[in-house]
């Protein structure tokens, strides 16, 4: 489901970067964290739990681990703690990640 961002857009910045979220290109401001970039783009869930319950970033400071996404094939990355980078391939995480994804 496409859900509009729950936030008013951030002010324009000089630098912009482009990353993909589940293959869809998204523009973001250089210097923002990945969680900020995602929340500016969509109000939809960024992961689902083992039981399929939808979740999105909750604390924005590295405590809650609700913002876990897959970045360039690496699972369980805390989106609120890493800067968004040009060309980053981000995927929502459905259910739990297994060991086979590790490393």
């Amino acid at each position: 489901m496409s859900i509009a961002s729950r936030f008013l857009p951030p002010p324009k910045a000089d630098g912009t970067v482009c990353f993909t979220l589940d293959g869809e290109p998204v523009m973001a401001r250089d210097g923002d964290t990945l969680a900020v970039a995602i929340l500016a783009h969509t109000g939809a869930a960024t992961r689902t739990t083992a039981s399929g319950s939808p979740r999105a970033p909750y604390c924005m400071m590295g405590v809650c681990f609700e913002c876990l996404v897959e970045v360039d094939g690496r699972p369980n990355v805390q989106a609120c703690l890493i800067p968004v980078r040009e060309g980053m391939a981000v995927r929502r995480q459905d259910g739990l990640r297994g060991l086979r994804h590790d490393g």
Partner: protein, 458 residues
């Protein structure tokens, strides 16, 4: 680990930065580690980029402290995830998949606070966040919540409301849990709090301006419940003035004060106690931040909630003590420098008993009931935890084994207080939950991948 610094500081908020500045001024070398890219902590997040005027003067006041981190004696390592603390002291931290081992003559833990998690039915929905999270988005990215509901209690709730009003994105409602009776009880602490009168005057000013802006306000609210509404909106239900209320908005932002971040200090072997007034665990520290672990000091909100102003003074005091212990300050010079800091620290802490009493979290947050999810990671409900206690689980460890509450990636950071509340209410033994390394989840690859020139850990 080629060179050992005089002090490793974990956490670059007011306490960590003030300590680093004091060390640097005295020619001591500091390694300052923080999970964020830039120093400032959550309170001064984004301040050195382009702070918006609507965030106010108190926020802008941190600029000097941040600028002082440029001193040549201070090495700042951002995006550093600390996951193990060893005797030495040695600190293991990783960044971009690489592990670093840092050694220092002393260690100061200044990990600050986290917001108290606010469990209620529906708090896991994507449209529900903590008020502090929204403020971080405002500070670090200039993003403003679209017509949000603010719910809970505490000074931060008022501050965020006013910042949103000034930014031209006022909240649609302010839903407060505290009652007139709580405010009346808190009045007992007013004489002490008046020593800190600028804070009180500021607080009253906040409320007046929120009222003047015409934000709908409820007090004595309870029975919080959120459901997904149309188009991803959140429908928030609660009881106030004896009547059922319902508000729908894109965002529901909740807050019930902050609690010390204790995972690091617990894993480091520091003794902790339960603070009944603040309903939180805190490390046992003396007036200078010393702990029972040799070489480890703790300062700021990580040692017990007292706010940003007090945190900076406590950081300075701890640094002076560390300099004295290292023989860099004589007892006489230490006393001369510490005394004025003690005076302002005492004044900064004076308002706390009033705030603790006025904005105490309600029972439904401290010990949730029914199908409310308590452990978000493992999706364990309040009822499941209550049942495990009824079936004989003693203390947090057995509740964890029985229900998986606290076993997810957040390692109990989001559920352990509510689990404790439930255990206490059900007559169980609410001991301090165990914390082990790695304090933050780390992959086996990361553990193995030591940065070049780094010796392996014992």
């Amino acid at each position: 680990m080629t060179d050992e610094v005089d002090l490793i500081i974990v956490g670059a908020g007011p306490a960590g930065m003030a300590a680093a500045r004091t060390m640097a001024k005295n020619g001591a070398r500091v390694l300052l580690l923080d999970e964020q890219q830039r120093p400032g902590g959550q309170i001064y997040r984004g301040l050195d980029a382009s702070p918006a005027g609507y965030l106010g003067r108190d926020y802008a006041a941190g600029a000097g402290l941040i600028a002082s981190m440029e001193a040549p004696e201070i090495t700042y390592e951002g995006n550093a995830r600390v996951w193990r603390i060893e005797d030495g002291p040695r600190v293991l931290w990783s960044r971009d998949g690489e592990t670093h081992v840092s050694a220092g003559r002393a260690l100061l833990l200044a990990g600050g606070a986290q917001e108290r998690p606010v469990p209620f039915p529906g708090w896991t929905l994507p449209g529900v966040m903590s008020a502090g999270a929204a403020q971080i988005l405002m500070k670090s990215a200039g993003m403003l919540p679209r017509g949000a509901i603010l719910a809970g209690s505490g000074p931060l709730l008022y501050l965020v409301a006013l910042q949103l009003i000034h930014a031209g994105a006022p909240p649609v409602a302010l839903v407060e849990t505290q009652t007139k009776a709580m405010m009346a009880r808190a009045a007992w602490h007013l004489p002490g709090a008046l020593r800190c009168s600028p804070v009180l005057v500021k607080g009253l000013g906040l409320l007046r301006r929120i009222r003047a802006a015409g934000v709908t306000r409820f007090t004595g609210a309870r029975d919080f419940c959120a459901e997904e509404g149309e188009g991803g909106d959140v429908t928030f239900r609660f009881t106030a003035k004896g009547r059922a209320q319902e508000i729908t908005a894109p965002l529901l932002l909740t807050h019930h004060g902050v609690v010390p971040s204790t995972h690091m200090s617990r894993a480091a072997g520091v003794s902790h106690r339960w603070n009944e007034t603040q309903q939180a665990y805190q490390p046992e520290v003396d007036a200078l931040g010393r702990t029972n672990v040799a070489g480890v000091h703790i300062a700021g909100d990580a040692a017990g909630i007292a706010g940003a102003e007090a945190a900076a003074f406590a950081g300075e005091l701890a640094a002076l003590d560390i300099l004295r212990l290292a023989g860099k300050l004589s007892d006489k010079v230490f006393e001369a420098r510490a005394e004025p800091v003690r005076v302002v620290l005492k004044r900064a802490r004076a308002v706390r008993p009033f705030l603790d009493a006025a904005y105490a979290p309600p029972a439904e947050v401290l010990a949730p009931v029914g199908e409310t999810i308590v452990c978000r990671c493992e999706e364990v409900t309040a009822e499941e935890i209550r049942r495990s206690v009824a079936e004989g689980a003693q203390g947090p460890r057995q509740v964890k084994t029985a229900t998986r509450a606290g076993m997810g990636p957040c390692q109990g950071r989001m559920c352990e207080l509510a689990v404790r509340g439930i255990i206490a209410e059900c007559g169980g033994t609410p001991d301090l939950p165990r914390t082990r390394s790695p304090i933050k989840p780390v992959s086996l690859g990361e553990m193995a991948a030591l940065a070049q020139g780094q010796p392996p850990s014992d």
